[in-house]
């Protein structure tokens, strides 16, 4: 099968969906002239014009607010946040408007929009350009949050997000953009929102992960397999509301759970997943649940400090060994 990068996969999803549906447009900073800082919009302005690939003012509040308003007026728009870190600027639009409009107006409207949010560590991006903030949205009903871990899922999940009648936040890890992977040449490739995927079957322990940390979860599983552990790896894909059933089923089989994400461990999604397992499947556990995440500091600049902050494959390996 052909291999393309994660950035190219998202580009294909955009092209295919925009060709089919002329209510789709995207708005954000530096999209049209620059093609996006990670090249993820290259060529789109030439194909669809700057009426549909819109360079906005540096006004995150107005970007997200206007995309919501356009969705209410029958469009299927996308807001690009440039960096996920900038979502703090427009939190009111996200959590008081976008998330609540359908519900508080009694289902009178749909809010079919996507917020694309490049997140994660990237070569000394430092405190305000490196964060993984997906946990902020975990407690907000009315939003769907997704995070693909590979090019094929990036394409299928972005297409699903664009087609969804619910508002979707699409976290795309910046370090994943350049990574290549197999992507089928299928215009109907859809990765369903709401479903986790068991990407590797095993019997002794379950690793639940997503986005960039999936790579480390798989690396850890290979190291552990060599040492005789049979590891199951679940890619969560949809972070909120997450697929409880798949995680519970896996834990019932393996009796051990480790959750790994690049976001800070404290207050991270791992806590929610651990709590659900504690409530619904504690009798199946043979060891304490372990969470692997970043240290509880702002993201530091210096490469040595950034590396100290970053959760690593070895943390997963050691965490799992401590369960036996």
């Amino acid at each position: 099968m052909r291999e393309i990068t994660f950035a190219e996969a998202t580009l294909e999803a955009m092209k295919e969906e925009m060709e089919k549906d002329d209510t789709i447009f995207i708005m954000g900073e530096d999209l049209a002239r620059q093609g996006g800082i990670f090249g993820q919009f290259k060529g789109l302005p030439e194909m669809f014009g700057t009426e549909r690939i819109i360079d906005s003012p540096i006004s995150e509040t107005a970007i997200v607010g206007a995309v919501i308003g356009a969705a209410l007026a029958g469009m299927r728009p996308i807001a690009d946040m440039h960096f996920a870190d900038f979502m703090g600027i427009t939190m009111d639009e996200i959590f008081n408007q976008m998330a609540k409009i359908r519900y508080m107006f009694g289902g009178q409207t749909i809010v079919p929009m996507v917020i694309r949010a490049p997140d994660g560590l990237i070569r000394s991006g430092a405190a305000q350009h490196s964060q993984s903030i997906e946990a902020w949205f975990n407690g907000i009903p009315g939003i769907k949050v997704v995070a693909p871990s590979n090019p094929a899922d990036a394409k299928g999940l972005l297409k699903a997000a664009i087609q969804s009648d619910d508002p979707v936040i699409f976290f795309e890890n910046k370090d994943l953009y350049r990574q290549s992977g197999e992507v089928p040449e299928d215009e109907n490739l859809i990765v369903p929102i709401g479903k986790a995927k068991v990407v590797k079957e095993g019997n002794d322990v379950t690793i639940v992960s997503y986005s960039i940390m999936m790579k480390k979860a798989l690396e850890a599983s290979e190291i552990l397999e060599k040492e005789g552990y049979s590891v199951e790896v679940v890619d969560l894909i949809t972070l909120s509301p997450f697929d409880e059933e798949t995680v519970i089923e896996s834990v019932k089989k393996t009796h051990r759970l480790l959750i790994a994400h690049e976001a800070v461990k404290r207050g991270g999604l791992g806590g929610e997943i651990a709590a659900v397992i504690a409530e619904k499947a504690i009798d199946y556990l043979d060891a304490p649940i372990i969470r692997v995440g970043a240290k509880f500091t702002p993201v530091p600049f210096s490469p040595t400090l950034e590396n100290a902050y970053r959760p690593k494959t070895i943390d997963i390996v050691n965490g799992i060994k401590s369960m036996f």
């Binding site: 509040t61 107005a62 607010g65 308003g69 007026a73 009111d92 408007q97 409009i101 107006f105 009694g106």
Partner: protein, 319 residues
Amino acid sequence: MNKELYSQFYKTMFKIRTFEKRIEEFSMKGEVPGFVHLYIGEEAIATGVCANLTKNDYIQSTHRGHGHTIAKGAKVDKMMAELFGKRTGYCKGKGGSMHIADFSVGMLGANGIVGGGFTLATGAALAEKIKGTNNVSVVFFGDGASNRGTFHEALNMASVWKLPVVFVCENNEWASTTPYLTTTSVKDISDRAVGYGIPGVIVDGNDVEKVYEESAKAIERARKGEGPSIVEMKTYRIKGHFVGDPEMYRTKDEVKERFELTDPIRRFKEKVLLEGVLSENEINKMEEEIIKEIDDAVKFAMESPFPSEEELFEDLYVD
């Protein structure tokens, strides 16, 4: 003079006033739950502005949104039911006063967040521009909301892209319990239009004809693709910020004095009677019909069932 239009002005203003008085009564009694913000004294603005709009045009409203909703053409029975928290209301009892909406007439929602509507209205205007229609979007906002960053981001975006959106300021002099001049850098909010290279005009917001005429110009300009405007309606908030507000920040005399001068309904009624456009009989008949319509709405609301607990999760997600 256009008798039909004048009758429409009177009926809409009187309907809003009557609706608000009943809601005030039920809110005081605790039968209407939650926070209620009344539009009494500001009826001319929603009425005059919305008379220039069709149901294909959009409005974004505020926490003080009943008047806008009625003026845009929503039905008072479904509004009343919503305010009573009933399942027959516009939002099936999920929204209430602060989140009243009727998408079928282009009323895209009241907003509990002061200044929450600017960017949404701008986006609806952007959508219409991309679609190539000549529909417009109007956002109502108060003097207080003009200090939100959303106001400034939306104005810049709307101006630079010449979007068909009209910013209608209802300057009622009170930002909740704070006199606006103590927290606002300009006396006239419309002065802020200069910074965005767009027209800004001041209108007597208690004169429904003036409101209609001046907003028509801004709406026409937007329809023609010439971009946004600020239309500042000078008015005064007759009631407290919310029903039950002890109003420690002003005297009853001050309010009474202002209302005697400004009451838009009384002023309009005197004028049309004096000029002979409408007769006393015609006005009485309109009033009777509206009072009956509101009475029926109250009855409908009171007799309607509350939502059942099973409805809690409805309309959270589509899929």
